[in-house]
C-alpha cells in the first residue's frame, strides 16, 4: 500500500488494525500455552531424566536405601486398569452421546447430558470412595477392577460431552443426504456421523485416557497398590500415579527422582497413545 487509495476510508484501516490486534492476541494466547508446556515438560525432564534407564522400565520397585529398581509392575498395572476402564467407558460414553444427539426424545437425552456435566466436577477422591463402596466393600477386598470402575466414572463424562459436541456439529445436511439415499438411520449414524466426527471423538477419548492415567487419589481405596508382579485385576495392583505420589511424598532424594522419571514415562505413554490412535484413524479413513 504505497499511495493511499482514495477508495479506502478510515474504516478500512480500523478493521485492519483490529485484525492485527486480534492476531497479536491469538499469538499471545498460544504463546502463553506453549510457554507453560515447555516449562512444565522441561522441568519434568530435568528432574527425572537421569533416573530413566532400562532397569527402571523393567524391574520391580526396591525399598529405600537400595539403588536401582524400577516401576515395571506399575506400568503394566496402569495399562491393565486403564484398558479395562476404557472398555467400559468408551462404549458407554460414545453410545450415550449417540443416544443424546441422534435420538432427541423428550427429556432423557438432555437429562443424561446434564448428569454428565455434573459428574465432571466430582473430585477424584470422592469417585474413589464411591468405587470403594460399590465394589470393594461388598467383595471384601481391594482389586484392580474397582480401580477401573473409578477411572471409568471419571472418563465417561469427558467422552460423552466431547462426543456430544462433536456430533452436534455434524451438519444435518449430511444426515439428510444419507437418509435420502435410503440408508437406514443406524447405518447413517455408523457410516456418516461417526466418521465425520471421528477426530473430535478421538480427542475426547485421548483426553479421558490421559486423565485416568494420571489420577492417584481414586487408587488409594480401590486398586490399593502392590509391590510385586501382578496381572490379576481381582486383587490389589500397582499403578503409576499412586507410585508417583508415594515416591514424591517420601524423604528420599532417590525416590523423588524416580517420581519425576515415572511422570515423564507417563507423558511418553500419553503421547504414543495419541499418535497411534490418530495414525490408525487416518489409515482407516483413507479407505
Amino acid at each position: 500500500m504505497s499511495a493511499p487509495n482514495p477508495a479506502l476510508g478510515l474504516r478500512y484501516f480500523r478493521r485492519k488494525a483490529i485484525e492485527r490486534l486480534a492476531v497479536g492476541g491469538m499469538l499471545l494466547c498460544a504463546g502463553i500455552t506453549i510457554f507453560f508446556l515447555v516449562t512444565i515438560l522441561g522441568y519434568v525432564l530435568y528432574r527425572g531424566a537421569t533416573a530413566i534407564d532400562w532397569e527402571f522400565l523393567t524391574s520391580l520397585p526396591l525399598p529405600p536405601g537400595e539403588t536401582g529398581g524400577g516401576i515395571a509392575n506399575a506400568l503394566i498395572g496402569s495399562a491393565l486398569v486403564v484398558a479395562c476402564a476404557a472398555m467400559m467407558a468408551v462404549p458407554i460414553g460414545l453410545g450415550a452421546a449417540v443416544f443424546v444427539n441422534e435420538f432427541p426424545s423428550a427429556g432423557l437425552g438432555r437429562f443424561v447430558r446434564f448428569l454428565a456435566e455434573v459428574m465432571t466436577g466430582v473430585p477424584s477422591i470422592v469417585v474413589g470412595l464411591f468405587a470403594y463402596a460399590l465394589i470393594v466393600r461388598p467383595f471384601g477386598s481391594f482389586s484392580g477392577f474397582s480401580g477401573s470402575v473409578a477411572y471409568a466414572f471419571i472418563m465417561i463424562p469427558i467422552i460423552l460431552i466431547s462426543a456430544h459436541e462433536a456430533f452436534r456439529l455434524v451438519p444435518d445436511s449430511l444426515r439428510e443426504a444419507s437418509l435420502a439415499l435410503g440408508i437406514s438411520k443406524w447405518r447413517t449414524i455408523m457410516r456418516v456421523v461417526l466418521p465425520v466426527s471421528s477426530r473430535a471423538l478421538l480427542t475426547g477419548v485421548v483426553l479421558a485416557v490421559s486423565r485416568a492415567l494420571g489420577e492417584a487419589a481414586p487408587m488409594l481405596f480401590t486398586a490399593f497398590g502392590n509391590p510385586y508382579w501382578s496381572l490379576n485385576l481381582g486383587k490389589p495392583i500397582a499403578t503409576v500415579p499412586l507410585l508417583i505420589y508415594t515416591y514424591a511424598t517420601a524423604p528420599y532424594e532417590d525416590w523423588h527422582r524416580k517420581a519425576w522419571a515415572a511422570s515423564f514415562i507417563l507423558l511418553v505413554v500419553v503421547l504414543i497413545t495419541s499418535v497411534l490412535t490418530r495414525a490408525f484413524l487416518r489409515g482407516k479413513s483413507n479407505e
Binding site: 525399598p63 529405600p64 536405601g65 488409594l220 490399593f224 509391590p227 528420599y252
Partner: protein, 354 residues
C-alpha cells in the same frame, strides 16, 4: 542300652529345641503366602524395606500400602486387610467399631519430630526454644522473631523483626497428632483452646500438604517455622531448634534421644501411650511410637500364625533396618512389652506363640 537311651533322649531334646526354634524363627508355619496391611505413612519406607527382606527370608509377600492411619484403622475395622498400622491410638468409638473384637497396638519403632525454621544466618541447632514459647508461637501470641521472650532464650543470636509465619499440616496425620499431643501436655491453654488430634483447628497461617509440603513451605517463606519428621528435616538440610525437655535440658532431635523417650518406667501393658514430653531426662520431647494394629482373636489359624510370626520378626530381626532409615528402634522395656503383646495373638482362643 544306656547309649541308645541317651542318643534317643538327645535327639528328642534337639528336635524339641529345633521345633521351638522354628516357632520363633519368624516365618509362618501354616502355609500362608501373602498378607495385606494398610495404614500409617510415617513407617512406610521402613516397612517396605522390612517386607522386602522378609520375602527373602520367609518367601511370604506382604503388601503394605500407606493410605493413612485413619484409612488403616477403617480397613482393619472392615476386615479388608490382615493388619493395620497407625501413628495414633484408636479411641473407644473406633475400638467399638472393630468388627472382630479387641485390637492390639504393637509398637514397632519410634520417631522424632524436628521444629524447623527459616532464619537467614541462624544455623541448625542454634535456636533454642522452650515449650511455653513454642506454644505461644503456634497460638499466634508471639508474632515476631525479635520478641523479648525468644531473645531472652537466645541472647547471642541476631534475631530479625520479621513476622513469624506458622506452618502446620493441612492434611490429617500422625505427625500432627504427636505434635499437638505434646503441646497439649505442656500447655493447659493449648489443650483447652485447640486440643490434640490428627487434624485440629489451627490458630493460624499456612497449611502444607504432607511433611514435604511443610518442609517446602518453611524453606521458601522467610521467617517460617514448622514441624516435620526428622527424616525430612535431614533430607532437606533444614535448620532445627533445640527444645527444652521436661528434665530441663535443651536437646536437638536425634534418633538416640528419641529411642530414650520410649525408655521410661511405667509403660502400660497395652502400649497405648504417647511418649511425648517423656520423663526420661535425656529424651527428646516430641517423639512418638508407630503401632501395628492386629486383632487379638483371629478367626483363621493359618492367618493368625502368619501375622504373629511377622510381628515377632518385625520387633526383632526387622529392627536392624530402622537406624539406617532414620527410625528409632525399640529397646529395653518397650521391646519387652511389644513381645508380650505379640504373644497375646490367638486363634480360636489358642495363643500362637508361647
Amino acid at each position: 542300652m544306656m547309649k541308645v537311651k541317651l542318643f534317643i533322649l538327645s535327639t528328642v531334646i534337639i528336635a524339641l529345641f529345633a521345633a521351638g526354634e522354628q516357632a520363633f524363627a519368624g516365618c509362618p508355619t501354616k502355609g500362608v503366602k501373602e498378607l495385606t496391611g494398610a495404614g500409617a505413612t510415617f513407617p512406610y519406607p521402613l516397612y517396605s524395606k522390612m517386607f522386602a527382606e522378609y520375602v527373602k527370608v520367609c518367601n511370604v509377600k506382604v503388601n503394605y500400602q500407606s493410605i493413612g492411619s485413619g484409612g488403616g484403622i477403617r480397613q482393619l475395622q472392615e476386615l479388608t486387610v490382615d493388619f493395620g498400622a497407625s501413628d495414633g491410638i484408636m479411641d473407644d468409638k473406633q475400638k467399638a467399631e472393630a468388627k472382630h473384637g479387641t485390637v492390639l497396638h504393637i509398637p514397632t519403632v519410634a520417631g522424632a519430630e524436628a521444629i524447623v525454621y527459616n532464619l537467614p544466618g541462624i544455623q541448625r541447632g542454634q535456636l533454642k526454644l522452650t515449650p511455653d514459647v513454642l506454644v505461644d508461637i503456634y497460638l499466634k501470641k508471639i508474632k515476631t522473631w525479635n520478641d523479648a521472650r525468644i531473645k531472652s532464650l537466645n541472647p547471642s543470636l541476631n534475631l530479625p523483626g520479621t513476622d513469624i509465619a506458622v506452618v502446620h499440616r493441612s492434611d490429617g496425620s500422625g505427625t500432627t497428632f504427636i505434635f499437638t499431643n505434646y503441646l497439649a501436655k505442656v500447655s493447659p491453654e493449648w489443650k483447652d483452646k485447640v486440643g490434640f488430634a490428627t487434624s485440629v483447628n489451627w490458630p493460624g497461617d499456612v497449611g502444607g500438604k504432607g511433611n514435604e509440603g511443610v518442609a517446602n513451605s518453611v524453606q521458601q517463606i522467610p521467617g517460617a517455622i514448622g514441624y516435620v519428621e526428622l527424616a525430612y528435616a535431614k533430607q532437606n538440610n533444614m535448620a532445627w531448634a533445640q527444645l527444652k525437655n521436661r528434665g530441663g535440658t535443651f536437646l536437638e532431635p536425634s534418633l538416640e534421644s528419641a529411642a530414650l523417650a520410649a525408655d521410661q518406667p511405667n509403660l502400660p501393658d497395652n502400649m497405648e501411650v504417647m511418649i511425648t514430653d517423656s520423663a526420661n531426662p535425656k529424651a527428646y520431647p516430641i517423639t512418638g511410637f508407630t503401632w501395628l494394629l492386629v486383632y487379638e482373636n483371629q478367626k483363621d489359624e493359618a492367618k493368625a500364625d502368619a501375622i504373629a510370626q511377622l510381628a515377632w520378626w518385625m520387633v526383632h530381626e526387622g529392627q536392624q533396618y530402622a537406624l539406617p532409615l532414620e527410625y528409632a528402634p525399640l529397646k529395653g522395656p518397650a521391646l519387652k512389652k511389644a513381645e508380650a503383646l505379640v504373644k497375646k495373638i490367638k486363634a480360636n482362643g489358642k495363643p500362637i506363640l508361647n
